[in-house]
Symmetry: C2
Subunit: 242 residues, 2 copies
């Protein structure tokens, strides 16, 4: 039996919905969400709920069908691939039915999101479906604005690195760049703080937790933080020229 899935035409909108406050959605995101019949949203497990979906609740979309798709927080790419393939198929089926549909994602779609894998999977398996990615406010920009820390000024350069980089690699980046954004801090908080302390950069560093959300926290004194749990969903910005 031939598989005709790769002949489906239509359009998928990958929509960045910002860091967690519905007012940080763009007009284009809202307009697109109003137009499509079905909105797909990621969730961390079959039982879990979708943070992305909870954010857009406040827009007041009417007569909308929501489909939450599980993307577990596991590292095995082969197992994950199954979820991307399944999600791709479900979304393509909706496109076949209605011509277009939307997938929402926290922050900006092309910064550390599950959407990237989904985007690549759909591009590969459903080459005739158009994909339009609508940019969103990333936690990087929201955090910098919330804390009042410029990211790039004049001739400066910026690095964005994940906290799982080795202490050596982080040290090197801190030496070479003017502003450094450290993402995915979480349980690696102590390691990062140790490197910053050693390089005398603690007073140049600020941790921003859930920027742009009602429960946003800005921690100026990183050494004061005893409980690394607060580092979940947090960004550390190090700016050398204060």
């Amino acid at each position: 039996m031939r598989n005709d899935n790769n002949k489906i035409t239509g359009k998928i909108y990958g929509i960045g919905i910002g860091p967690g406050e519905y007012k940080l959605l763009t007009l284009k995101a809202v307009e697109t969400l109003k137009r499509v019949k079905t909105v797909f949203a990621p969730k961390p497990s079959n039982e879990g709920t979708s943070f992305a979906r909870s954010i857009i609740k406040s827009i007041g979309l009417r007569k909308k069908r929501y489909v939450e798709l599980p993307f577990p927080m596991i590292k095995d790419r082969n197992k994950l691939m199954k979820y991307w393939l399944d999600a791709g198929k479900k979304i393509a089926k909706e496109v076949k039915l209605n011509g277009e549909t939307a997938f929402i994602t926290i922050g900006d779609p092309f910064i550390y999101s599950t959407y990237i894998y989904l985007y690549e999977t759909i591009k590969r398996n459903h080459p005739l479906i158009k994909m339009e990615t609508i940019p969103g406010i990333s936690s990087i920009n929201a955090s910098a604005c919330a804390a009042g820390i410029p990211l790039l000024k004049g001739k400066e350069k910026l690095a964005v690195v994940p906290a799982m980089e080795s202490a050596d690699a982080i040290r090197k980046t801190l030496k070479e760049f003017d502003t450094i954004v450290i993402m995915k801090v979480g349980s690696r908080f102590s390691k990062v703080v140790a490197v910053l302390a050693e390089m005398n950069l603690l007073s140049n560093s600020v941790m921003i937790s859930r920027a742009g959300c009602p429960d946003e926290k800005i921690i100026q004194d990183l050494s004061s933080l005893k409980d690394a749990k607060q580092a979940y969903l947090s960004v550390i910005i190090v700016r050398k020229n204060k």
Copy 2:
């Protein structure tokens, strides 16, 4: 005579309005613009017009007072300082009168914008005025989404550098990072392309001009570009893992 300017209280909103299409403004940006009486907008010279102001025209704000402030494209910081001081005074005067006001800026307020200098000037000279910076979609995110190039995936790291960096410095960054965004390309286009060619990265590079605008251009083959004029207001994204 005492100067009481530094006793003014109230609030200034620094509003990122995105890369050039009004639909990429956030709901928060629009809501804030609707509320304030006066909107300040930057322009490149006394005679010039404000690109930022032209973008928000399509929102249809009513009964709004616009004040365009000149920030010439010069490099002499002492001369520029005069413009920042003047602008700061005018904006503070408006705050004194109406309690709050807004300044709009292209892209994200904290990425290569005049707003950063204005923000620092006002913080210094009018310490009692609150400043809230509303993040905007930067040309970095808009360009990546337009070209379908992920910025950060998994454990990757990203660098954003201005094209005026030396060829050596650009080479080094290209070696060490997964994705590299080269900003302020303009007249430095040939230099950048030479480095990319030498490192066999031309096929990993895309130039995006005026991302998110109606006249957006995506140039996949950088070596095809004869006229560097197109490189004005452009971003080059180099992604090593295709």
